[in-house]
């Protein structure tokens, strides 16, 4: 296990180096001038040149990249071109919101997804199965933008049960909890559908396995057959899906954050790309990459608990 963790950390460092080079390179060659975005349409060429010089944008690519890397290894990820705020601070303000939203929507997704998937598998080809798979298909197909807008219209504007947007209150307060409900449902629906489909197919496969038949033949109680012999063994692909989804959610969810006016990492990243705010783009992408690797590592570790046959040398 320790070997696995050490190896993954080593891989992460190499990955971050590669990603930083790719992101820096692609932002460098991408059309769009950061100076124009700072100066605005009214800035003259002299104004723009002054801004470029000030930000070091006139230096050759390798000089700029080397400078970035040199500072980054010392923990300095630079300052936003637009706001002059440190990248670490800009991310630190937004990440808690993204984390809150990711956890809440994963709770929604896992609870609904597992329950629906189980019902579907255990009542295979029944009306319950049909209903559940239909909802799963709908969940995957409905765009977040539409679902979010619809939920706002129904629950916030018409019924006035929940606030339209924002995520400013602490989640453990009543107001904070209410702020989380609509975005978590919006974001969790797609993942729930994926988890439901995966749980269903994985359960159907395991349910037909020899050891399940043997367990039944031995007279093991049906609940024990399902919860101990079947579900546990069916969980490996489901955990993979949950891990991947959680990784994506931690990277920020641009559309949901936008619709519900949530100040998260996804919005930060998309705004930074639009404004050609290179240090912010770089910082956010590195954060997302790190989180993805960490989540995958956790998933790998969880595998060993779910299925003791899995061992890492």
């Amino acid at each position: 296990m320790i070997t696995l963790i050490v190896r993954r950390v080593g891989e992460l460092l190499l990955l971050l180096l590669g990603i930083s080079f790719l992101v820096f390179g692609s932002m460098y060659i991408a059309p769009g001038d950061p100076a124009s975005m700072i100066g605005g349409p009214t800035a003259t060429e002299a104004d723009l040149e002054n801004i470029r010089e000030n930000l070091g944008l006139n230096d050759p690519f390798l000089v700029q990249y080397g400078r970035y890397l040199g500072n980054a290894v010392q923990g300095d990820f630079g300052y936003s071109y637009q706001t002059k705020q440190s990248v670490a601070d800009a991310i630190a303000v937004r990440f808690p919101n993204t984390l809150k939203l990711a956890i809440a929507s994963m709770v929604v997704a896992v609870v609904i997804g597992l329950v629906a998937g189980l019902i579907s598998a255990l009542r295979h080809n029944s009306w319950l199965d049909f209903t559940s798979t239909t909802f799963a298909l709908a969940g995957i197909s409905i765009p977040n933008f539409w679902l979010g807008a619809l939920l706002i219209l129904v629950f916030a504007v018409n019924l006035q049960w929940l606030p339209v947007g924002g995520l400013s209150e602490p989640f453990y307060t009543a107001e904070g909890f209410k702020q989380l409900i609509l975005p978590a449902i919006t974001l969790g629906t797609g993942s729930a559908a994926m988890i439901a489909r995966m749980t269903r197919s994985s359960m159907l496969e395991v349910v037909r396995a020899d050891y399940v038949r043997t367990a039944r033949a031995k007279g093991v109680k049906e609940t024990k057959v399902i919860w101990v012999h079947t579900l546990k063994n069916a969980m490996i692909p489901v955990i993979t899906v949950i891990g991947l989804n959680f990784g994506f959610l931690l990277g920020g969810t641009i559309i949901t954050e936008k619709v519900f006016a949530i100040n998260g990492v996804g919005r930060l990243m998309i705004d930074a790309i639009a404004m050609r705010d290179f240090p912010l783009v770089q910082g956010s992408v590195l954060l997302v990459a790190t989180l993805f690797v960490v989540v995958n590592l956790i998933v790998d570790i969880v595998y060993t608990y779910v299925d003791p046959r899995i061992k890492y040398e």
Binding site: D33, A43, L128, L162, V164
Partner: protein, 519 residues
């Protein structure tokens, strides 16, 4: 199995109950959030404005975007400002001024103004701010506002003398620009004004959460008396339809820049008043004049004759003003006689010119940014130009790429716009169409010696009547040769909770909330 089913039902019930449970408690709290709490008298305890973008920063010296300017204009003040109705330049922090000669401006500063940190505002503050704005080391995005300035000297505590390198007509308009606002020198030396601003305006800074909100409070020692709004929140709500929902539920009290497609929805909301005013912004079709085929006067005439601007303006739900004039009615230099001075819509003439000159044989690239009404303009123009026999291909780009591509002149025709914050015609013509700015802000790559001369004259004359005349002639020249085809002039809009009144909308799209009070 039954247990699983029961669990599922229980879960759904729990979600529904949680939602239902909120009904009694959430409604009043939303009302509070929206700032509609009674504070007695005309006072408003909290007022929330929703913006679709975050501020870039809170220092007028280091920013140049309209969202930042909206906040800054409530915190800082400028030497001059525009009268919101007449557009006339009137003193604000300046009490009076004189022009002993064409190169010298002497400003008398008001003596009763203090910054929020207690520092008195005087001639030194003005000199400090302007020197910092024009210092190349500052790299101020709008350093060009003071480019003509040669020297700034403090004559006495409340008198400052500014000499310019050449006579500069729009100087007072530049001083009314939000980026020329006066900052507290004490504060600027002690802290970062980008995140902790100190000005002399009606509201003082409380807090800034990047990406989320800026909070201001009434400045009780404001020279004209403290505003009724005690706490003013600028909240970031990136999606306009969400902002409208928040306006409807009372979570937000004011939004601006209403999209034409949302007007009907906002009008249907009972507790909201919409305000509109003719604006200074102009949206126009421009030709890339660095390409010889676009220098053909008949080609431009055919394009202008093919595009039906009246139909387009009709699709804006009242948020566009039709006039051929490049300088709109709210801009200094406008002359009513230019309203119909451009090529009129004449599809038959367009077809005839296309046929005679074989304009349909080449593909015209129509470059457009993927924002606001630009795509709509491009699609309508493409349809109408195709009808006339042109062969038009639309190239859509996101804003930053669009700016670069247009600056490099990689297009045949495009749609451009200009907000014109200073409301002065020279400030529209010089950056956008003067030869000096080809390769930067003159994206049409337009170069015309006669036009340049007229614009230079409008900039260097300090006689305002003369300036009007030069600008009118320059405007006429553009229309005569169809160098610019104006699609529409903008209308500024705002929607405010109907409990309040006295919103001041300015033609350049800015607004002020300092006089807002309960009805």
């Amino acid at each position: 199995m039954k247990k699983v089913w029961v669990l599922f039902v229980a879960l759904i019930a729990a979600v529904v109950l949680a939602a239902c449970g909120g009904e009694s408690s959430s409604a009043p709290s939303q009302t509070n959030e929206g700032g509609t709490t009674e504070a007695g008298g005309g006072e408003i305890e909290e007022f929330v404005y929703a913006s679709t973008s975050d501020v870039a920063g809170l220092s007028p010296i280091l920013t140049n975007d309209s969202v930042s300017a909206n906040v800054q204009e409530h915190v800082y003040e400028t030497l001059f400002e525009r009268d919101t109705d007449t557009g006339e330049l009137i003193p604000s922090l300046a009490e009076s001024y004189e022009n002993p000669d064409e190169l010298t401006w002497i400003f008398k500063i008001r003596e009763d103004v203090v910054f929020h940190d207690g520092t008195p505002l005087n001639a030194e503050s003005v000199k400090y701010t302007f020197d910092k704005l024009r210092d190349p080391a500052t790299a101020a995005p709008r350093a060009s506002l003071l480019e003509p300035v040669d020297e700034i000297t403090v004559e006495d505590e409340f008198t400052v003398k500014i000499t310019t390198k050449y006579p500069y007509g729009p100087f007072l308009a530049s001083l009314a620009h939000s980026n020329a606002a006066i900052v507290s020198p004490t504060a600027d030396q002690a802290q970062d004004l980008m995140s902790n601003p100190v000005g002399s305006g009606p509201f003082k800074f409380v807090s800034y959460t990047p990406g989320d909100q800026v909070v201001l409070e009434a400045f009780e020692d404001y020279r004209d008396g403290a505003p009724d709004i005690k706490k003013l929140v600028f909240k970031v709500v990136p999606e306009i339809s969400t902002a409208i929902s928040m306006l409807q539920t009372g979570e937000v009290d004011f939004i601006d820049n209403l999209p034409s497609e949302q007007i009907a929805r906002i009008e249907s909301i009972q507790n909201v008043d919409i305000e509109k005013k003719d604006g200074t912004s102009v949206f126009y079709l421009a030709f890339n004049q660095s390409r010889p085929e676009n220098q053909d006067e008949n080609f431009r005439k055919a394009v202008a004759a093919a595009v039906d601007r009246d139909t387009f303006v009709g699709k804006l739900n009242g948020l566009g003003l039709r006039s051929d004039s490049v300088l709109g009615p709210m801009v200094f230099g406008y002359n009513e006689s230019k309203n119909a001075a451009g090529q009129a819509y004449d599809p038959e003439l367009a077809k005839q010119l296309v046929e005679e000159n074989g304009y349909g044989d080449r593909t015209i690239s129509l470059l457009t940014a993927n924002r606001d009404n630009f795509i709509l303009m491009a699609e309508i123009a493409q349809a109408q130009l195709t009808e006339a026999g042109f062969n038009v291909k639309i190239e859509t780009m996101e804003w930053a790429t669009f700016l670069d591509t247009a600056r490099a002149g990689q297009f045949d025709i495009t749609f451009l716009s200009w907000a014109n914050l200073t409301q002065d015609g020279s400030e529209m013509f010089y950056p956008n169409l003067h030869t000096d700015n080809i390769g930067s802000s003159n994206r049409a790559q337009y170069s015309n010696a006669e036009f340049d001369e007229l614009v230079d004259a409008s900039r260097t004359s300090v006689d305002q009547e003369e300036r009007l005349n030069y600008l009118d002639q320059a405007n006429g020249l553009l229309l005569e040769q169809n160098d610019v085809v104006v699609m529409y002039h903008g209308v500024v809009t705002g929607a405010m909770n109907s409990e309040y009144t006295n919103l001041i909308l300015e033609p350049n799209g800015k607004w002020t909330l300092k006089d807002v009070t309960r009805k």
